[in-house]
Structures are given as structure tokens and as C-alpha cells.
Symmetry: C2
Subunit: 593 residues, 2 copies
Amino acid sequence: MYKAPVEETVFTLRHVAGLSAAMAEGRLGELSDDLVEAILTEAGRFATEEIAPLAEIGDRQGVVLQEGQVKTPDRWPALYRAWAEGGWNSLTASPDFGGQGLPHMLHVAAMEMWNGGSMAFAIGPTLTIGAVEALSAHGSDALRRTYLPKMVSGEWMGSMNLTEPHAGSDLGVMKTKAERRGDGTYRLFGQKIFITYGEHDFTDNIVHLVLARLPDAPAGTRGISLFLVPKFLVEADGALGARNDVFCHSVEHKLGIHGSPTCTMIYGDGRFGGEPGAIGWLVGEENRGLACMFTMMNNARLAVGMQGVAIAEAATQKAIAYAKERTQGRAPGWQGSGMSPIIEHPDVVRMLLTMKALTQGARAITYACAHAVDMAHATEGEEARHWTERASLLTPIAKSFSTDAGVDVASLGVQVHGGMGFIEETGAARLYRDARIAPIYEGTNGIQAIDLVTRKLPLSDGAQVKDFIAELRGIAAAVRASNDPAFGDTAARLEASLTDLEAATEWLGTALGEGRQLDALAGATPYQRLFGLVLTGAYLARGALADAGDGRRAERTALCRFAAENIIAETAALKDRVINGAASLEAARSVLG
Amino acid sequence: MYKAPVEETVFTLRHVAGLSAAMAEGRLGELSDDLVEAILTEAGRFATEEIAPLAEIGDRQGVVLQEGQVKTPDRWPALYRAWAEGGWNSLTASPDFGGQGLPHMLHVAAMEMWNGGSMAFAIGPTLTIGAVEALSAHGSDALRRTYLPKMVSGEWMGSMNLTEPHAGSDLGVMKTKAERRGDGTYRLFGQKIFITYGEHDFTDNIVHLVLARLPDAPAGTRGISLFLVPKFLVEADGALGARNDVFCHSVEHKLGIHGSPTCTMIYGDGRFGGEPGAIGWLVGEENRGLACMFTMMNNARLAVGMQGVAIAEAATQKAIAYAKERTQGRAPGWQGSGMSPIIEHPDVVRMLLTMKALTQGARAITYACAHAVDMAHATEGEEARHWTERASLLTPIAKSFSTDAGVDVASLGVQVHGGMGFIEETGAARLYRDARIAPIYEGTNGIQAIDLVTRKLPLSDGAQVKDFIAELRGIAAAVRASNDPAFGDTAARLEASLTDLEAATEWLGTALGEGRQLDALAGATPYQRLFGLVLTGAYLARGALADAGDGRRAERTALCRFAAENIIAETAALKDRVINGAASLEAARSVLG
């Protein structure tokens, strides 16, 4: 059974992602070490004791749609209410609307643990928090007053309505229409698909944020507006009024995260009587909807990255526990009587250490991204610009590397279990199924790579990435300066991987500068992976160099060395793929017919 | 919908795996080109038109156990009968028992296609063929006369009963007992788990091959005997007699291959009345059961490798079709109006070409392994020894590389489909689920790696692997000699990868020679992968160099170049992991607690 890794999250926040430094510099207000520990301990307890025990039933029962109503798995509505009553929905929200105004770093660590308990459960609340962010940043005072307090408390949930059948990665072609009613409100008509928690029985009302197009809007992404469309209209006194003209037409039969409803939502077909059209309120300005949505999409991408970390952590815990218990064969050097636990076999050790290293690397990258977000909020001027850029640069890597790690680690987890891994009751298979959506939603990892290469590398004319690499060089230098033989060849390995990253970065900059878009994009995914591996090595080293006084320094150094000597070496091949791969890729297009 | 790749299988057999050369040398009797094409065209038609359309219903319905009877999916029993009536069960069996005595090469190509249609369906018949092989090689005349004709015709199916709850990879600790009855027969008592098609409604009788231990047997693997235990006893006239004391206690709820029953079998609990004990007949000698089983396990491993190839091919076809049809965004250089098909995006091209290259590499390796099996049968003396060794060397690589490719390619296939890939109705998710068992059963890929490094590399004092690498060097030299610029950097890349393989092989030889078992085993899996990648590059090049007169040489050269310049470069990191990975792995064991 999953046990939230509270110690590891606190350590990583403090000593790897930069929480302790930020607190020491007074960047995070009155946040104390005790409060950090208290919050994460309780978030972890909730994940371990409340969420995790209901994960399997959620997977097995899935959701049921009957006459437009979605029934979530047994005991899930009560689980949600307990979660909201614990105040977990309001961690980062503004105190103006009942929020606690805490740093994103705490939030991502808590999200990791809730998703570790059950990704299908945690995805819903996460989307509400995204909706709160968008509404806080772009909603009118009236909208914020009406909706935010109840969304922050968790009394109502939110949903994000972007995708349409022909508009997924490319939102510019969406067709959902919004018509002005003349009273400041709008009527929406259209169909949205893949809407996570678009309908459910957790809360009485659901606040949909919906992208749609006005009749006179310009074509493409510059003609999209954002609307707030509640399931039930809200009266002046805050009470629920009439049913709005939006409903759930169907739910998907999915590979994983069965407990979460994935809905097709129909807007404006008039089925509830009266004039057709779902009544909506504009959020932000007309035709600026995509920019508003991006406010929350960056955080949503980081949140999906957390799902990758969470699945990887859960899969690793499960595999280690099984490998200690299951005996089979006799490993070389095994001194015990009878068969050895399979954790004694070198190949199993290799799988488990790979799982550990990828999990901790992904965790460190995502937490470091949250740190950059917090620092951007805590600073001003040039400094804020720096941290905003850092968060922008890290977001696609955090999303893609962590979600790929989720899939890879969950697959290794099944393998460690042998035949038992293929049996659903064991639970390893569920993680393998759940993990698979994370590299796809909130922008596929291929889209993240395009974003990284074409939008993030050019930040500050390339100075942002250059400075970042220089910082990472500092970690490698510190490993070298430590002269600790337990690091083995780590310093040299890290230095070599950084040289690969520099060469690939420079090559991409040149290719883009010369307008060789195809060449650059052909190498975008290998580059993104390369960056993630370098960060994994560097952050594991930063953790190993830290003195947390918890007696685990030797372990961290050993894991860092394992990663440096076994995983990071891939960077050479990845750099080669970035720099030399495009020509053969173009030449081979004909193979695809 | 899956379409059996008949042309590609025929090409690969002839020009890559060695079928044409073997036929030209007269090694395969009267086999003609026309017959090869006729057989594989019809096997492919059956896969495309009969099996594939029933794959989805098999996945959705799964199997149902009621009062010891397993109901397979709708129309599957009729599908099986049509398959058996087509003579497909008898391809490689001896003409003495109604078989066609055809080469294994044809069989693996046909198996690839049947598994491409539905892996859950094809796994059952495959096991029968394995049972036929074991019985042919080790059964008494009486047993062979009684059982083989009906097993060869497909009137009865077979099953393999090895695994017990505490005896999976390590069969030495199995507990199933066999007691001598004094009349030459035995009574069996015990429980077997994970028995594929242990019970079903395809045939009236099921012939179980069961490993069990005699009362006076030595401990460990040298005390295991093989027994034939029919579901129904067979009368002297061949008619079905009394129900034997074996039954299916439960079926597993699995991640994938839902249509195939995975049974827990109980032997000898006396539920059908009479004296308890399932009546069995010894196959081969007492206490030599594991050796008998290994006869068919090698072929079973190759058959599982074919499942990896099959899933990879099916996933690739599906992804290419979707990528051509789905439009989204505008790829750089896209000249059409509106959105481009996603196949125009470089990142999608990279995914699809990677899928193509891994699929074709895995296919070539498995077919080459079947070629070695056929040559071992067709030759004598030193030559037979050489080919037996070659088949032995290739088997673990064929099994592991192909099944890993199946998982990786199916995962990429889901990714290419974006959100649709996560929806079960699309079918990409089923392949991702089905694929996951293949790296596990018939010896996990970790077990294959141990086999490769500790048993196969030492063959002929290392001369077998050395000669093989020299042959592969010949392919690289031919690429260089071709002077064809379309190969790009292929020659140099192949040469470098072969140098990596040589270095890793030599290092492992030294480590084993010096008794450093842990060091060697720590690198076994990376070594196995390294070998598979080198073979992929070499066999793609062999195919590209061949002149098949089918106008596809340029395509094959382009795919070979893509693989050489994008995939094969991983060999450097893998070699490094073999040679330098063990120390850090040992040092980090403490991390696992």
C-alpha cells in the first residue's frame, strides 16, 4: 500500500529545490519550518490513510452515467468532502477569498502525495485549483465575489473546457460559439470532449471555464474568448438557481484513471427548456481567452508533471516491497538458506535503482519549477523576470520528463512483479495504465518539446538557458571539490552531460536563428529528454551534497553515483540525435507511405 | 484495422533471415518460392480477415469461469476450429503424425501474423504446438500414437503446466507430487498457476504437460519429471473416457490478453469421485523433466518474441493510419490549406520511424533465430552444432528485444494517438496492455539476460559469439563498400556499435572467467539490449543491401539510415553500463533499504 514519502518531499523542497534558501532570504513571508512539516505531514497522512485505500475501488468501479448524472465510485464523494474540509483546496489561493496564500512549493509536494494515493481522484481537485487561478487573475470583481469563495473552500468544483473533436493540440480551429445577449452575458453553443470531472456528484455546482468563439472573432487562436459557465445559475444571494443549458452527454471508457469522469459536454442544445444556449460570463477580455487559459495551463502542466512523479513513487514503493518479500532462485553471493529475495538479484537491483533515480530526478525538477514560480511571485523587476523565465523554461521539462518517467517506472514496476504484475489485483498494472495519460494531456510531450525549443530557449536571447547551465556546472564543480570517493565518477559524468547539453542548445539556437525550423523540431524531443537527464544528475548531486543531518547522505550519494554512471550516459546519444538526426529523419519520411 | 504484413514477412525471411540462401543450398527440401508465398499469403489472410475482426470482442468480453468450465469470447471457438481446419496447427509437425514438416521460418512468420490479429487468441494454439514438439521429442511410442495425431490436427489442444505460487523463475522448488501407481502410470497432486488455456471450450479434450516431483526425487531442478495428463482419459479406441482429476479452479483478471484464459489448475483433489489423483503418463525419463520441457521452451521463447513483433507491427500500422488522417496544427513547410496531417510534424515522424525500425529489427532477429533452428535440423555434425549454438545464442535476444520493442512501440502508438489513444475503443490501448506480459512470461527478460551472458556467451569457448560478430562486421563492410550516399553515416555507426559489442562481450568473458558473477550479472540486461540494437542495425542494413526487385530499396536504405543515426548510438551508453555499471550498482544497494 502506498505511503506518502513525506520525508523525501520535505528534504527535496528544502535542500534541492531551494525552499530553505528562499525562507532564509525572507522570500516566503512568515512560513516556518514547523509549518512546512506540519502541512506536508498532514497532506501525506490524508494521502496514505484516506485516499490510497480508495484507489482500487475507484479503478474497479469507474464512473457511471445515468440520465446526465455521473456517479463516482463508492465513498469518493465523501472522500472529496473530507479533503475539501481539510482546507486542501485553498492552500495557494488568495486570503481575500478564503485561501491560505501558501507557496506553490508546498502545493506541488502535497499534490504529489494525493496523486500517489489515487491519480484518478486527485486530478479533479487539481483542476479546480487551476480554475481558481484563472478566475483570480482574469475574472471581474463580480465574478470573483460570486464564485471564488465557494471554489476556494471546495464547496463547488471547477472544470476546464478546451478540447473539441477537431481541436486538441491546435485550439485555433475550435467551433464552440458564444453569442452576446446584450446584458453583458453570453449564450454558448457547442461540444467539448475529454472534459475531466466535467460532471460528477462531488459538489452541488460545477463551474466550467469554457473557451469559445464570438461571432465576429478573428480566425485562429486570436479569436478565442474564455467564459465562466456554471452548471446551476447563481442567484443574487448566492443560492443555486436554474439549471444552465450544459450537460454531460457521455463518459469515456479509458485505459486508466477509471475513477475520474472524462466527459463529453454539450452546451446550448436547449434540453432543459427555455431559450437554448448555456449562459456564460466573459473572463478577461474578448478574444484574449487563450492568454487567460495559459495562466492556468502552466500550473496545470506542472500539476501533470506531479502525477508522473506520484505514479513513479507509488510504483517504486510497490516494487521494492514485493522484491523484498518474493523469494526466487539464489542470487550470487546469497548466504541465506533457501531461495533469496529477488531484491538480491543484480538485475532487480538495477531496475529498482533506476526507478528510484528517475523518481527522485523528476521530483526535484518539478519542485524546482515550483520554486521558480514562487520566486517570481516573491520578487520584482529584473529578478521577477528572471524567475518567470526560469519557471517557463522548466515547465515543459518538468511536465514531459516526469510523465515519461511515470510510464517508464510503472512499466519497470510491472516487470519486477513478474507474472503477478500482470494480474490486476496486484495493483502494479493500474499504475501502468494510469501513468499513460500524463504524457498526453495538458499538451502532449511532443508539444512541450516544441515549446521548450522554440519559445523557451530564446528567452532573454538565450541568456536564461545559458545561465541555468552555468548554475548546473556549479553543482558538478562542487561534486568535484568534495573529493568524496563515494561519488565515484559522478563529477566527470555530470560535466560530460553538461557539455552535451551546451552543444545541443547551441546547435538548436543556430538552427532556429537560420530559420531551419524542421531541423530544430526534429531534435526537440531528444533535447527535452537530454535536459531532463542532466537535471536529474545535477539535482541528485545537489541533494547528496546537502547536509540535512538525517543520516541519509551516504544513501543519496550512492543513488547519485548510480544515476551518473548508469543513466546519465544517455546524454551523448541524445545530443547526437539532436545535432545529427534531422537529415536521416527527413530522408526516411517516404518510408511512412 | 490490422493488415498482415505478408510482403514484409516474405522479404525478411528471404533476404535478411537467410531463407533464400538456405533454399538455394537445398537445405529445405522441396520448398519452393511459390509455396512460401502461398502459405504466408493464406496465413496472412486468415490473420487479417478472420482473427483481427474478433480481437476487440475478445478483449471486451474476456473469459468467464462457471462450474469449472471456461467460456471463451463469442465466436472464438468457431475461429479456433476454422484455424485448425486450415491446417495451421500442423505446419512444423512431423508428417508421421499428420504434420507438414515445414521449416520453422514459415511458422514464426505465420505466428507473427496470427498474433498481430489477436495475441490473446494466438497464444493458445502456439502452446499446443510447443506441447507437440515436446511429445514428439520425448514421448513414448504409445503416447505419441494416442495423442499426437489429434494434437497435430488441432482436434485437441495442449497446455504447459510449470508455474506454482512459489515456483516461477525458479522451478526447482515446485511441490506438485507424482506417485507411481505400479502400472506405469502416475497420480498427480498439486496446484499450478498462470496456466494459459489450461481450460477452455475450443476442444473436447486438453492435453496438459505437467512438471511434478516423484516421492524419491532429488531436490531442486534435477528432481523434476514431465507428465502428460489429459483432461479426459482416452480409451483404447481413441474415444474420450472418464474425466481425469484435474480442473480449473479460477481464472485471472489480467491487464491484457483478456480473451485468453489464465488458469489456476488443481490436480488430484478427487472432486470427480473415485480415488484422488490426476492420472498421468511419464514423458521422457524420470527426473529429466526439465530437460524435456526445455526442448519446447526455446521455441516457446521464440514464439513469445513473435508476439512482441506482432504487437509492434499492429501498433505501428494503427499509428501511421491515424497520423495520416488526423489533422492538427501546421507543420513547418506544410504547403496545404488548413491544418496538416500530424504525420507532417517532425516529432510524429520521429515516433513513427522509431516504431518502424524497432519492429523491423525485432522481426529480423526473430526470423534469423528461426533460420538457425531450421539449419540445425537440416545439417549434421559440426555444422549442426554451429547452428544449434547460433539458435541458442539468438533465442534470449529474440525473446527480450522483441518483447521490449512490443512494449515501447505500443506505448509510442498510444502517444501518437494523443487523447484518443487513452480511449479503449481506439484499440491502441489494448496493444499497450497486451504487450506488457511478453517481457515477463516464458522467462522474464532478466532471466533471458542471465541465460545469454552465463550460458550462451561461453558457447564453444566464446567462438560462437565471436564468429557471429565477425559476420555482422561483414554487413557493415558491405554498407561501406556500397558507397551509396543514401546510407549516410550508417557504415561508421554500425562499425562503432560492433566495437561496443565486442568490448562488452570481452569484458563479460573476463568477468565470468575471473568468477566475478555479480559484476557480469549487473550488466546482463544492458548487454542484451546492446546486442539487440546492433542486430537491428545490421539486419536493417542487410535488408537495404538486398536486391529484391520490389522497388523498395530506397525506402529500406532510408529506414536503415534513420536507425543507424538515431537509435544505434545508444550502444555506447549500454557498453559503458555493462563495463562500468556494476560498482555503483553494488554501492547503491543500501538505498533500497
